[in-house]
Symmetry: C3
């Protein structure tokens, strides 16, 4: 029961220019190397894929407007100027209707005092605690856990194994993937006397007077508040705040295995890639991009529209619209420059050694003059 579209309808839907036959029927999009038949639309928006269109079984293809391509070979060719945007539109058109749980499964446990909105679906073995509120049209997949007094907005999609702690608030239309944990306690301990990490930060060393022989737990009174239209990947973690709440702004997208510590504030429309770690109390502006496996130290501030390159370690504040990378992170220009020279360090050392000899010679000559 796949969906079908004509080539002209697809061209219109993705703002493409159609060359050729607009009446072809398409029921699948495919990588050019994976075309199975005449009803496939070959996606060759990447120019390196265009050669794969030679002799393809597909009668229709999408290419980017910088591809050099004899369109005559394909009966219908859709030319687009922004390939990834066309990809977004096409994948959404062809996405299979997700098979969500329907209705409330008889094994779903909803404690007294929980409020379930209209048209909510709750899967098998899900657990909704007392005081929780589930917004209309939301779906809780099987085996999810919603803690006491937690609030899930309208139209949310909560996948199996997701755990939402008490009082956590999730906005409308959020998507949270498998086994993600939101609202565990913050990692916050204090030593009665000055501890070793504290000493190392302040003085650079650990003295005989510092000890971590007692670690006193700081409780997490705050919660986690997540805006609307946020998507969070699988196996990520967002901890609750100490006194105030940890916050994620509207429209922000978080990948898999991201760790966001207590008291962190993330703005709107950020992109936070896989395995990023954000330590406690860091503040991330709006529209910030954090590349894969980047780490932010506690309390740092990242300005709006900044881009932190993958694997960076950010120990200080980052200005808006700045691109930073490396460890410790510096501006991209500085990073590129440093790596350029670092990669040639042996060359410079050889020069230094050569200079030593030349200087020796010159000095001896000078003396003997």
């Amino acid at each position: 029961m796949s969906k079908t579209f004509t080539t002209s309808a697809l061209a219109e839907a993705i703002d493409g220019r159609l060359i050729g036959d607009g009446s072809l029927v398409i029921d699948r999009v495919a990588h050019p190397a994976d075309v199975r038949g005449a009803r496939d639309l070959a996606l060759a928006m990447d120019v390196t894929l265009v050669p794969l269109l030679e002799g393809t079984k597909a009668h229709a293809a999408v290419v980017s407007d910088d591809a050099k391509f004899e369109h005559g070979k394909i009966a219908a060719c859709i030319v687009v100027s922004r390939p990834r945007l066309a990809m977004a539109k096409l994948t959404n058109l062809f996405a299979e209707e997700a098979r969500h749980p329907e209705g409330i499964h008889p094994t779903a446990l909803i404690e007294k005092g929980a409020v379930i909105g209209a048209n909510v679906s709750i899967g098998a073995y899900a657990y909704v605690s007392a005081g929780a509120k589930i917004g209309p049209g939301s779906t809780l997949y099987p085996q999810t856990y919603i803690g006491p007094d937690a609030v899930i907005g309208a139209g949310a999609l909560i996948y199996p194994g997701v755990r939402i702690g008490s009082h956590v608030e999730i906005g409308a239309r959020c998507i949270i993937h498998f086994n993600t944990s939101i609202g565990a306690d913050g990692f916050s301990f204090v030593t009665p006397q000055i501890g070793s990490a504290e000493s190392a930060k302040a003085t650079g060393s650990v003295t005989e007077f510092t000890t971590n022989s007692e670690l006193v737990r700081i409780a997490s009174l705050g919660s986690v508040i997540i805006g609307d239209d946020v998507e969070i990947g699988a196996n990520s973690t967002i901890d609750r705040g100490t006194v105030a709440s940890t916050r994620i702004g509207n429209g922000t997208k978080v990948d898999n295995q991201v760790q966001i510590g207590h008291n962190v504030v993330v703005g709107d429309n950020c992109l936070i890639c896989g395995r990023v770690g954000i330590a406690g109390s860091a503040v991330v502006g709006d529209r910030v991009v954090l590349g894969g496996a980047a780490a932010l130290a506690d309390h740092v501030k990242i300005g709006d529209d900044a881009v932190v390159m993958g694997m960076s370690g950010v120990a200080g504040n980052v200005l808006p619209r700045t691109v930073v990378g490396g460890y410790p992170a510096s501006t991209r220009e500085k990073l590129v420059e440093n790596h350029f020279y670092f990669g040639r360090i042996k060359h410079y050392v050889k020069k230094i050694e050569d200079f030593a000899k030349r200087l020796d010679t010159l000095e001896q000559n000078s003396k003997s003059d």
Copy 2:
């Protein structure tokens, strides 16, 4: 039904010096920017927050003894000398009574031969395998899994989605957060002939004679043994040992998304921050601090009271009370020094280039003499 305390009771509880009215009733602690009313205690222990006390609705505040502050503006001021310790005490006083499952839920499955102590609470859809022992006063949240013959000490708190493998032993009063996995098999494989990683370690290269065409699995006969008063964050993993057991000492605190490999031994009272990875057979002493995203190579030994800075990659042993950082990790002094010079590398290269010219000139002059 929040708790209330007088300002004098609070001052006493946190070892603070009270200036002003000891009879005020407090029912909430708040960040100075989030004060809602007269019964809030404004937490301004960080000196940068003191200006926010101007015109606050709060009648009471906590400040540190190094704050310059006219206490008269606030009816009750509690002055503390160690702010984070005061924070620990205050958050614990005001922490809401956590709403744990009560009793054993009818859907909790307890296999024959499991031993459940007095006053144990087990939530919905939890599963306790045969031979497991749950200590008195412990709480298993909904959807937890306790493997065959696993032992959970008294007063433990096991959050939803936690998986405890067979024979794993967890001490008293441990707290384990959402979706953490303890006791999966170690990652341990061997190639019948010398493999590529082995060759790379021994000789620096992979030759035509090395192949990983067969990977033979080493079974994990050991278990995981965790001491008392250990707290482990969300989505962390601790693998079982090969022959002996992986061990975590008493009082150690582990953050979210920490990976601890097979045969690792961690001492008492360590602080292991988020996203740390500890490879197989590493040995970590007592009171060690591992900063966020740090990684320890297999078999390294970290001495007591050492501090490993965030994002470090530790490939060799670390002496007690040493602060190390960077990749490959060196002492903090060496790291700071190296980064200092590295950041100026362009400057030195320019000097080298300048020297080359000056040497050329001198040498020509010398010849022409």
Copy 3:
């Protein structure tokens, strides 16, 4: 009810040379420091453990053929030439029969249209969606989730908390540990106009003309296809592909907390260590080893038999049989060389400063001549 073997049977099983008594009965393998009695086989294949055999209660031991050891002190000594292979064989011999769920638990929910093979075991509170196929002899532990139309091969072992998304295909004899998530949607978004990360990649900076004010979601039409004999650790994540599927080859072993992004293709018999991250569309060859916490940037290609050292950040392609490390990753030789010089950078700077003085002196002398 432990298993027992004679020393001669064990010697034969592990291809070892037996010195001494072949009739001793062994029912346990033990680290030399953890021997409990005469029926323990002391594992002293690591030469550093041989001294622990002095005065041991064990009557039998395994040592490597490069150990200098008077075998007479031990009644039965088994000498092996490849200790870790012997370890693999021994641990598999002595591994306790894993206590899997037996049969299909009455609380296991199997939706209509799911196909369950012969001799499948499904634990309590597991959920198998409509259209899913579970191969003969497979075991689904309690609290697992199998999505619509997902396929699990014969003899698979799926541990508690594992989530398998819709249409995902898992080969025969795969082992997947606690809380791992396979088949969440890829992390793939596009901005209608040029976005900040795109601008940073292309031009090195973020201009006023770039904005991430709208993030359009790209749907994931592809799936995840995993070969036979693959083992995946705990809390790992593998995302589905965009149009084609994400693929993991036969025999590949993946450790805990590994993140594998959408469209990634991993070959056969790879070893992917803990906390590795592989960004979208990267291609990893056969028999590749990725060390702990290494990261591959999107679209990079790693050649067959390459070894990527732990904590490396790989931003470019890697040739077959190459050993690379560092960030940005270079060949091991280059990395070692760079670190060598980097570690001596202060020394070279001092030389440069000394040269400056010597040059000044020479130049002044030269002028005064």
